[in-house]
């Protein structure tokens, strides 16, 4: 019954193959910038996938999801700073700390709905952000350099960039699979039902709060792991990691790629981050024949003027984001 050769599936498989081949390409061409860019894309796609669990499937518009990137990252940074370099210790602590914060934030914010929920998650994120700014011992505003990546003695060498990249990719694919299992399980149907009609869910006997809270904690924990990866990637952590604009970026990735779809957040993350790099170059290229070079460069700095309307068009006209667009194309 299920059609496999759909445009959407071809794009997704193509995307995964490209992602898998990035280190090969880089090792031949020697373009390390691509490696850096794609490692970041894969990690943020993982964070966006975790947000999709609660935003797309659960209808919980958390406007503070980047805070778990920060908490996961700070767990790595602080432990490394204090001499605990073992990843076997660092990573579970990063995940646990994020889950714990999500439990507190969720327990308070999930009692509200709609705009109030958005504002409370935002307020908590700001609170933690300024807490980070106040961490004098760990660099405060300027952040903290991480001199050694997490040590997995005898198992993995994260200082090898290709090994690290493949680990991130593996964890991203694992996250997508996990979220897919979750949303189709009994648990997943409860949080989806609650997004669709919470009143009816209660009337048929579901204590929905505890399920929504569990979803919120799982999403926070996964994002905390993404934060641990990001800190290892940049070898640096600062409050900027959890700035509210980063939370906004994650929402854009999910909405642009397609809410409540398995690969939507990945598609959204790739699109947003690649366009961020490409748009200035494209604008420069288009402007050179008409303007003198300094002016063309200046204009290219206004690339969000192009990205903004593109995002609006997708949101307004493609129900289900780019994923929906690709699936819709099949029906023609």
């Amino acid at each position: 019954m299920t059609e496999w050769f759909t445009l959407r599936n071809i794009v997704v498989v193509g995307l995964l193959i490209v992602l898998a081949l990035v280190p090969v390409y880089v090792s031949i061409g020697g373009n390390t910038f691509l490696m850096t860019l794609f490692t970041r894309i894969v990690i943020l796609a993982m964070a966006a996938t975790s947000l999709n669990l609660i935003l797309g499937y659960g209808g919980m518009v958390s406007f503070g999801h980047a805070v778990y990137l920060g908490v996961g990252g700070y767990a790595i940074g602080i432990l490394a700073h204090e001499g605990v370099a073992s990843g076997f210790l660092q990573w579970p602590i990063a995940i646990g700390a994020s889950a714990l914060l999500a439990l507190v934030v969720g327990a308070l914010s999930l009692r509200t709905r709609g705009l109030y929920f958005i504002m409370i998650t935002f307020a908590f994120a700001q609170l933690v952000y300024y807490f980070g700014v106040g961490l004098e011992r760990y660099g405060a505003d300027d952040g903290l350099t991480i001199y050694r990546r997490s040590q997995f003695a005898g198992v993995l060498d994260l200082s090898n960039r290709a090994v690290f990249y493949y680990l991130c990719l593996l964890l991203l694919v694992g996250t997508i699979y996990l979220v897919w299992r979750l949303v189709n399980s009994r648990f997943g149907l409860v949080i989806q039902g609650s997004r669709s009609n919470d009143r009816r869910m209660q009337a048929i006997g579901f204590p929905t709060f505890r399920y929504r809270l569990t979803g919120f904690v799982i999403a926070g924990a996964i994002c905390g792991l993404a934060g641990a990866l990001l800190a290892n990637h940049t070898e640096f952590i600062s409050p900027a990691t959890m700035h509210w604009t980063r939370s906004g970026d994650l929402i854009v990735m999910v909405v642009l790629g397609g809410m409540a779809s398995s690969f939507g957040p990945l598609i959204g993350a790739v699109t947003l981050l690649v366009l961020e790099e490409l748009l200035p170059a494209i604008i420069r290229l288009l402007a050179f024949p008409f303007l003198d070079p300094p002016m063309a460069v200046k204009i290219s700095e206004y690339w969000p003027i192009v990205l903004g309307p593109l995002f609006l068009l997708v949101v307004l006209f493609a129900r289900g984001g780019m994923n929906g667009l690709l699936e819709g194309a099949r029906r023609d």
């Binding site: 149907l189 669709s196 009337a203 006997g205 579901f206 929905t208």
Partner: protein
């Protein structure tokens, strides 16, 4: 109050200056189909809300199966066998009809902290759900998304959702709302089939349906019970005639 499945005692609810429930006292024995009628704004839906647990009464008590449930949350009431349908269809539009009913079955098959197995392939949920769909005549519409079902099918699915929780008692809030005569007749037949097996509290504007189905009828006016008796006695009651039945406009009134 011991032999009544549902007993209401002195239930009162005020919204500002409006008294929506005014010292309502009522006992519904097991197996009875009890209709509540009254003009628009009589407080019928407020009463359902108080019984289902969505609205907290200011005074009074509600007993179900001998247990004081006045302060019990909505989902706990469903768990002990009190199910409701909604006046305005309240379903999960992105799910299929079968998904909807299976979710109601799931709510009553243990906790849902089950994270791995595909719930849509779980026969323990799907089979009972199919049986309930067949009961309300939607067997061949199981895989149609709710957003593509007709109004009459939505109303039938409303009932199916309540039935799937295996209740002892149904609270039906205007099940015939917005239905044509044919659909109404079908709904009356279906409800007649549930009589005796289930205790039913029926709120309905369709007088033909009410008098065809009810064992007893309670008349609510401005939140107050003005009569509660068998259909023949309600028809003959002077006060009811004056307050309600006598005014022909009210008989066809819809909210």
């Amino acid at each position: 109050m011991t032999d009544a499945l549902l007993a209401i005692e002195g239930l009162t609810k005020r919204f500002g200056g409006v008294v929506a429930s005014d010292e309502i006292t009522l006992a519904i024995p097991t197996g009875e189909l009890h209709a509540v009628i009254g003009p628009n704004g009589a407080g019928k839906t407020t009463l359902i809300g108080e019984l289902a647990g969505e609205i907290a009464p200011d005074q009074g008590r509600v007993w179900f199966a001998g247990r004081d449930i006045t302060a019990l949350p909505v989902h706990r009431r469903s768990a002990i066998g009190l199910a409701r349908s909604f006046q305005v269809t309240s379903l999960f539009p992105d799910f299929t009809a079968l998904d909807n009913v299976a979710l109601a079955v799931q709510a009553h098959s243990g906790h849902s902290f089950r994270f791995w197995r595909n719930a849509r392939r779980d026969a323990a949920l799907r089979e009972p759900a199919r049986a309930v769909l067949a009961q309300v005549g939607l067997a061949d519409r199981a895989d149609v998304p709710v957003s593509r079902l007709s109004h009459g099918e939505h109303r039938a699915l409303e009932i199916a959702m309540a039935l799937a929780t295996r209740p002892r008692m149904l609270l039906l809030d205007e099940p015939m709302a917005g239905m044509g005569p044919d659909e109404s007749a079908r709904m009356v037949n279906m409800l007649r089939g549930f009589k005796r097996q289930l205790t039913i509290l029926l709120i309905e504007h369709d007088m033909e349906a009410v008098f065809a189905l009810a064992d007893r009828i309670t008349v609510l006016v401005y939140g107050r019970v003005i009569a509660s008796d068998i259909p023949a006695a309600i028809r003959a009651n002077e006060e009811v005639r004056k307050a309600y039945l006598g005014a022909p406009d009210e008989l066809v009134g819809q909210e």
